[in-house]
Amino acid sequence: MRPFDFCKPATPENAIEDAVGAPGSAFVGGGTNLLDLMKLGVMAPERLVDVNRLGLNQIEPIENGIEIGAGVTNSDLADDPHIRQLWPLLSRALLAGASVQLRNKATTGGNLLQRTRCPYFQDTDVACNKREPGSGCAALGGELRNHAVLGTSEHCIALHPSDMAVAMRALDADIVICDANGGTKSIALRDFYRLPGDTPHVETALNHGDLITSVRLPAPTGDRQIYRKIRDRASYAFALVSVALVLRMENGQIASAALAFGGLGTMPWRDEAVDTVLIGERPSEALFEKAGETLMSGAELRPGLEFKAGLAKRALKSVLMEATR
């Protein structure tokens, strides 16, 4: 790690001031991802702004939804009684991720900004467009397994690793941000992440100094909520594929469906065409298979990643069968 300043501001405004004061600054919440990457030399901020003392650790019901402070830990979020009851998908996604120790530190805001686990991104001895714009992509032509098949470009195939953000994508979360000018804005999670294109180093809509202060979830659009994660060992592993589902049945038909996917995309993946295939239809295996075909129709299955198509389709079908049973 390069030497850095450390600030412990007491308000969001001060935190933003501290951040704006140094162009190479970074906010640190739990630190579970940032410190990992700093030790590897992948990230080297000159200043760390600790956002743990800003009072952003509340979970509060709001009109027609709930507001989650950016500093709420993954553990506390998963255990919140409102979340457990009305947004169990989110609890389930959180509990499927990492370990208790990590969830006790990792925060809501930090998790949204969790960076890829592409082994080439994490290796400062090889080329990576995300780490060093324009240097090339060592992953292309390399060993692929935990890489994306959706939303990739010829410059980057890095996979987004979050479980939480996948659930939030299906739950239509909004991100509340304080910016450097003292304003507050809200961005739909749908618009928060950026596809890599030819600028894979730009991952979100945030500008330098923008501070995520909370996440708002609207009332869930369905009572049937499932998070299914498939991984290489029984626990403490990243997803090979995960499926987040929010669904409502009415009169034997699928009245609403929101599906999001992990382990597939360069960002937490949602393809509304998949939802559209389902909505208004009666459940059937053929319908679910069609949804899977729709999801994977644009996939780039590079060598080593071919399995993701079959796995995703099977997982989707299984989750839909369970939800409509």
Binding site: S75, D79, R92, S99, K105
Partner: protein, 166 residues
């Protein structure tokens, strides 16, 4: 940077480089080497300590982020020469071999018992809104953030089951 840590009930004032992790502060600066460094990246759990009642990976946290915090390490589990029930159960069930992951396993297991008492759910909890029963599956899932390469998992589970049933 000046940082105060309360470790196992004793107050320590450190003046340390901002880069020092809580783990290295314990091991190299306070020479409390019971807490282990296995991977230094939050991937093994050997560095698990209990901060303000919650277990965390001390390798992925900076010491300066813990100013004023209460830290409990393996050295603080027993009182004097008397082992606590979990430490004794680890010996009785041979829940250790090389011993390197053991301090982290113990801190995790201590915290686990509290988490279950508080009704915190896990990935394998069937009913999110109901009480949590400490089944074997619950223990193994909740202890999965602590790798043991000697693979003493069977003994670790038995030790926790025994203490939980007391």
């Amino acid at each position: 940077m000046k940082t105060e840590l309360m470790v196992n009930g004793a107050n320590h004032t450190l003046d340390i480089d901002t880069r020092v992790t809580l783990l290295d502060a314990l091991r190299d600066h306070l020479q409390l080497t019971g807490t282990k460094k296995g991977c230094d990246h939050g991937q093994c759990g050997a560095c698990t300590v209990i901060v303000n009642g919650q277990r965390i990976n001390s390798c992925l946290s900076l010491a300066v982020m813990h100013d004023g915090d209460d830290v409990r390490t393996v050295e603080g589990l027993s009182e004097g020469d008397d082992l606590n029930a979990l430490q004794q159960a680890f010996l009785d069930h041979d829940a250790l071999q090389c011993g390197y992951c053991t301090p982290g396993q113990l801190c995790s297991a201590m915290a686990l018992l509290d988490e279950v008492r508080e009704g915190r759910a896990s990935h394998v909890t069937e009913e999110l809104n109901g009480p949590v029963a400490l089944t074997r599956d619950e223990i193994t899932e909740r202890m999965s953030g602590n790798l043991c390469r000697c693979a003493c998992y069977v003994g670790i589970v038995a030790a926790i089951e025994e203490v939980a049933s007391e």
